[in-house]
Every structure is written in C-alpha cells, then in structure tokens.
Amino acid sequence: MPAFLENPRLRGGIHAEERKHYTSGHAIVRNFPLPKKLYIPVQQHVGKPAEPVVKVGDIVLKGQLLAHSQGAISSPIHAPTSGKIIDVKDFPAPHPSALPVRTVIIESDGKDQWLTTHLPSDPFALDPEEICTRVGEAGVVGLGGAVFPSAVKLNLGRKNQIHTLLINAGECEPYLTCDDRLMQEYAEEIVSGIRLMLNGMQAPKAIIGMEDNKPEAFRAMQAASLPFANISVEQVPTRYPMGWDRQMLRYLTGLEIPADGRATDIGVVVHNVATAHAVYKAICLGQPLISRVVTVSGTAVAKPGNVEVPLGTLMSEVLDYCGLNKARMARLVMGGPMMGDALPHAEVPVVKACNGILALSHEEIEEPQTQACIRCSSCVTACPVGLLPLEMASRIRANQLDAAVDLGLKDCISCGSCSYVCPSNIPLVHYFKFASGELVKRQQAEHKTEQTKRLMQDRNQRMERIRQEAEAEALRAQEARAARAAQQAAAKQQPKEETA
C-alpha cells in the first residue's frame, strides 16, 4: 500500500475477547505441592536435544545438571527437585499428537534439597562473556513460547553491537496473565535481570514494551526501572498480535526487520520479560531454570490462577490442583487460545515453553460450521504481515502450493488473526500449517530422490569400475597365459633343437 493507506507503526491485528480477568487479580501461587514424580524431557528448547548425564538409580539434588547441552544451539536441563532417577525413557511430550520424546523421570524425596552453588559477589561486575556462560549453563531459554536458548541471543547481541534490547512484555494472547503477574510481583528482580542482559550484550539501552491493558504491571515496572535512565517502559495498544516481536518492534521503534534477516541485523535483540526474570535467578541466585509461572485458566477450572510449577509436573496434576471439571473440558490447550496447541490429554509434563494451560469448555470454543468464503477480506485487514489469507487458502485447496508460496505463505506467522475474524469460520491457519508441512514433506521427498539418484550413480560407477577391473584382470591373465605358453613352447623347442 502507498504510505497513506498503511499505518507505518501498526498493521492488522484484532481485538480478541481478553478474558484475562479470570486470573489477573490473584497473586502467583507459590506453594504448589511437590509432585511425587517429575517427567523432564531433554528437548524443551529450539535446537539439539540435551544429552543425559545421569543414570537410572542416581540420586540428584535440586538444580543439579541432568542433561548437558550439545552443539551451538542447545540448552541444558536441570533437576527441578531432589530425588532419585527412576527412568530415562520415551514419554509423551506436550505436543498436539503427544509424540514421545526422551524424558528423565525423577522420583522426588520430598526434601527439595538444593545443590550448593557459589554466587558471584557482585553480579553486575561480571564479564559479559561470564554472564552469557552462566545464562547458558542455567538452561535459560526464551519463555515467551519460542524457547530459543537465551545465551545464544545474548552472544549474538554482543557480537553485533546492538543498540536496543527490547523486552517483550506484550502478553497479547487472551487468558494469559503469567507475565502480568510476574511484573506486578517481581518488578525489581526483572529490572535486575534486564540490567544483567544489557551487561551481557554490552548494549546501551532497553525498552520494555507492554500492552496498555496491564496498568498495575506498568506502574510496578516504571517504579522499578526509575533509577536506571537507560531502561524505559512503554505502553503499546492492546491489539493482538502485539506480542509478535516484529510488530512490537515496529510500533516502538519504527524499524522493520528484513524478511530474510534477524533482529540483530537492525541492532535490536528481543527477549521476553519472563526470560529476564529467569536470567536474574540464574545469576543472582544461582538457580537454573527449573520452574516457571503458568496461567491455568478456562471455564472448566474452578480456581483459575497463576501457579509456579516445577518443570516436569504433569499437567493433569496442575489442573487437578486448580479444580478441573473434567466433564466441562472440551479442549485442553497449551499456551494461549490463539496460537496454543490443543493437546490430546493432560498426562504430559509442563515444559519451559508452557506459559498457559487452558481447559476450555464448549461455550468458549463454540465451533460453527465452515461456510463458503464470501471474499469479505476481513482476513486481509486482520493480517499483521500483509498477506492475502483468502487467496492463499484457495490456492492450497486447489493443491497449488507453489502459488501459495508466491503469495507469501512462508511469511505467515500462524498468529490466527485471519481464522479468528473469518465470518465463514474457515480454518485458514490449519490450511497454512498443512501447506507448510506438505512443502517440508515435498522437500524431503526431493532430497530423498536426489540421494537415491546419487547412490544409483555411484553404484553404476562402482559396477563399471569393477567390470573394467575384471576385464583388465582377465586380459592380464590371458596375456600371462599366452606368455607362459610361448615360454613353454620355446622351452620345448630348445631341447629338440639341441637333440636335433
């Protein structure tokens, strides 16, 4: 669009029904009863899975390393409580199809005994490299849902000499209030975490961006950041998906990240506000990331609220604690209702990515029938990226995936704004995810064909070489035989001549 039709700072988005009031008024529950068993998957982050360093039967203390990170992008896993390792096996992960992943199972001894650690005397005097190392060793990952290893981002930030650290406190998903509560209750610790991040990246300033539906958190964060001139708190309009880092970045700074680039390319690093708190705990308290605040909500739970849960707790236990009415629950969602995953059952562990557990009732997910597209273009208006969801969906329906890619399928962030506003209730995001999966499958098939072709060629070459070698061998043998025969003939002739 020409400039006059396009808001340079804010584009698309929707006003979803917030439903944050279920949980925003209650303090974070910190006395969640310690579960008997904890199920800790070794893959709770983007990148390579961690490699277990414990064996079945080992006794571990709270905070002890269970699995170390491997590779450049990975993150270690720690024991959420003290106890005995009773198994290391495949266990269903919180995933839409509950795929099993490698999981360390701890039977807690009930003592919850910490591993002794030595804390730095002055955390703010630590070297930048040291901060990054400690953050990495504590298993801190992005807690907004992307779970990208934070140390990698901090290192990237330092190497690229960024000018701004953007703290994403948007929390634009309906229902979720865990970041809101965290900011209200731990504002100072979060600000310390932000200062440590700034030190770690040697960045000059930080902006905390927050939707304007959290006035208390805003005041708390403002008060906490007042002594630090380089940390500012900014309010942004409440408009989903404001928490999409690129949307918030554009709103607050006017900068746009190129489609083929990263935030560091324009001198910015974005971290979630809960991550800042985890960084504080990792460095100032020496506590690795072994618990997180989870919003438990939805009208199928009697006591919705924010609960600090040890990682590895089964969701069913958390839900029971909050008074789940199983008969009322029509859908179980991990994360927010817009982008969260529907889970097939609750016997899966809480992981680092889990910012919400929603037990939604029929009234909340009421699903009218899908009707024909009437080309109302509400989806075009709602798309924060600037795509044409209706056109993409019609291409995908016709199985013209390449045409959908040309329309920008790969730029889709699956925020769900289009599906949300669609008056015909067309599951647009479902189409896009399907198409993306199909493209990956195609790519793999192509890769496989090429691989097969290469192997085939190799084999043909090999066979050819063997045949040639065999022929050469046969030729040599023949020649040798001929030579021998000639020799023998000569030898026979000689004595004849002599005798003759």
């Binding site: 669009m1 979803a16 982008m339 008056p423």
Partner: protein, 353 residues
C-alpha cells in the same frame, strides 16, 4: 473431551455470514419501506414475488447440486439478492419481470459459477442489465408517485401486476435521467428540461424511479450505518462518489447546459444504492484497500461516462459489471506489502539505510 488435530485459534469472533447478510438487509429496509410507501401495493407484490422466487431458484439449484438447501438458504444471501433485484426494478413491473430477474440473478449470476462467493459479476446488477436489454419497455415504464392507500387497492394491484398494466401516460412518466436523455435528443438544453425538478424532493426520494432507489437520504443513512458497523469499508463508496462528484462538477462548470449538476447526478438513478450496497459486494470487489479505491473510482468514472456520452440514460449497472470484470486483474496487481519486504516481494535492504 474429544481430541482432534486442530490448529489454533481455539476461539473465534462472533460475526457470521448470515449475520452480515442480515445487517445489510436491515440497512436496506428504510429505503425499501419508503419505496413501498411511494408506489403502493403493486410494489409490495413485486418485491414479494422477486424475493420468494429468488429463494426458490436458490433451493432448486442447490437441489440440482445435490446438497441440503436449508443451511444455504438460511445464510440470507438469496434474500438479499432478491431484495436488491426488486429494488432496482420499476415499481409496477409485471410479475414475470421479478421472476426473470430472480432467475437471472440466482441461476446465471451466482449458481452457475459455483454458488456463494464464486461469482464474477454482481448478481443483482447482472439481472438488472439483462432485463433492461431484453425488455426495454417494461424496464423503463416508470409509474408516478402514488402513495400507499391513495393508489390502487389490494385486488386492483394484484391484477395490475399479474395481468399486465394498462400503460397510460396519465400514470407514468420519465425518470430524471430519462427526461434529460430525451430532452437532449429533442435539442432541449439542461436547465429547461428539468423545469419542475426539485433537488430536495429528489434527495428525500419523492420522485419516479426504481422501487428502492429513489430515496438518496435513506440509502445514505443505511450505507453510513453499515460502515459504522464495520460491515463494509469506506473505500469503495467514498471513491465512487468522490469521482462522480468531481467529474460532474468539472463538466457542469465547463458546460452547464449539457452536463447535469453534481447534485442531480448523485440523487438520480441508482448511484447511492450502488455506491453503498452493490459496489461494496464482497465477492465481486477487490480485497485490498488500494484495490477498492481503484475499483470505486473506476465505477464512478464509468457511471459518469455512460450517463453523459452513452446511449442509455442510466449507467450504473453497466459500470458495475465492467468493473466487476476488472476486479481479478486489480487483485492480481494490487497486493499489500508483506512485512520485511518491498512491494515487489524482495526482502528489505538494510545495507544502505
């Protein structure tokens, strides 16, 4: 709890297709009611016939297609199409005009393309234009204003619609646009042709014309209401009206004897109905705001051109159909800019800011 693999979002907005259709119908009701008041029982019969036959044709096509008709009929789109067709007909047109209009709109205009959301042309305008070309007499016989209870009674009206109207000049006349066109052909000039024209009455709608098109005021209220409700966007109506007003003002200032004043342009024929209710048809208009501006301006331009220099007094139907045909082209070339990319799809270049 039943579980299936489903992507988010797990919540949805509440506005549905049938609700949108209902909102549009409600916005059209004042102008329709006013038309019924102006033209009495025959108009009511025609309206009923057209809407009922639209629904019957829809049900018939859906049956042929082999799907259950009820859910589709309930979405209200056939009612809306029937209503729009009826609103664009001469108020005392015979019954078969209404039936033909409904058939053209529903069968040729919509279902042969594959039903709701698939059609290339606006069904109501397609019906209007097809009828105008096929039955020019019936489609240009405009009855005088004869308000309900002062005009023909219930039974007399029934006969009028079903056994043909005794077209006497005493009860019929020309519309403003028709008057001007015939005036020009008799070498009459503008201010004279419109000697008994009242701008105010035309705006309120107290004049000859199609069943639901006469009242610019009520159509404007309905249209603005729809924009406020967020059912339609402002881009098409504003660009259409602005283009038409601009062109007519300029030409009226150059030669006021041959070009109508902008006020007459605006309050004659179907301009306001088209601007707010026809051109904004989701299915047949572009998807992007810029595309909609282009589309609206194109409609405004064509309306002016056809009215001023074309053979027909009224050009809105043709203008809409022509622009409908261009819509896929507009949508192909005008697309929104994708985040992090230039309009041509290349990623932003940050090496030289």
């Amino acid at each position: 709890m039943k579980s299936k693999l489903i992507s988010g979002p797990h919540v949805a907005a509440t506005r549905r297709v049938d609700q949108i259709m209902r909102q549009v119908i409600v916005a059209l009701l004042p102008a329709t009611a006013f038309g019924l008041l102006l033209f009495g029982w025959p108009a009511l019969y025609l309206l009923t016939i057209t809407i009922v036959s639209s629904m019957l044709f829809e049900a018939f096509c859906l049956k042929l297609k082999g799907v259950a008709a009820a859910p589709y009929l309930r979405d209200g789109s056939a009612i809306l199409t029937g209503l729009l067709v009826a609103m664009s007909l001469p108020p005392w047109a015979p019954w078969w005009i209404g039936v033909m209009g409904a058939a053209i709109a529903i069968i040729l205009g919509k279902q042969v393309y594959g039903g709701l959301g698939q059609n290339l042309f606006n069904p109501a305008m397609l019906a209007r234009v097809a009828l105008l070309i096929s039955f020019p007499i019936e489609m240009t016989t405009w009855v005088n204003v004869s308000p309900l209870f002062t005009g023909p009674g219930l039974i007399e009206s029934f006969q009028l619609i079903f056994s043909g109207m005794e077209t006497s000049d005493a009860i019929t006349g020309a519309t403003t646009l028709g008057l001007i066109k015939t005036g020009f052909s008799q070498n009459l000039l503008l201010p004279g042709v419109l000697s008994d024209y009242s701008g105010i009455l035309a705006f309120i709608g107290w004049e000859r014309g199609s069943l639901g098109e006469t009242s610019g005021l009520l159509l404007l209220i309905g249209g603005v209401h729809l924009i406020r409700q967020g059912v339609i966007q402002w881009h098409i109506p504003v660009s259409l009206l602005a283009t038409l007003l601009l062109l007519s003002t300029v030409f009226h200032m150059i030669d006021s004897t041959h070009y109508m004043s902008p006020w007459v342009q605006l309050n004659s024929g179907a301009v306001l109905l088209v601007a707010f209710f026809i051109a904004t048809d989701y299915v047949t208009s572009p998807n992007t705001p810029l595309g909609q501006l282009v589309f609206g301006s194109g409609c405004g331009l064509l309306i002016f051109v056809i009215r001023s220099w074309g053979g027909y007094p009224e050009g809105t139907g043709f203008a809409i159909l022509l622009m409908n045909a261009v819509t896929p082209l507009i949508d192909h070339y005008i697309r929104p800019r994708i985040y992090g990319r230039y309009r041509n799809g290349k990623p932003l270049d940050i090496s030289n800011p």
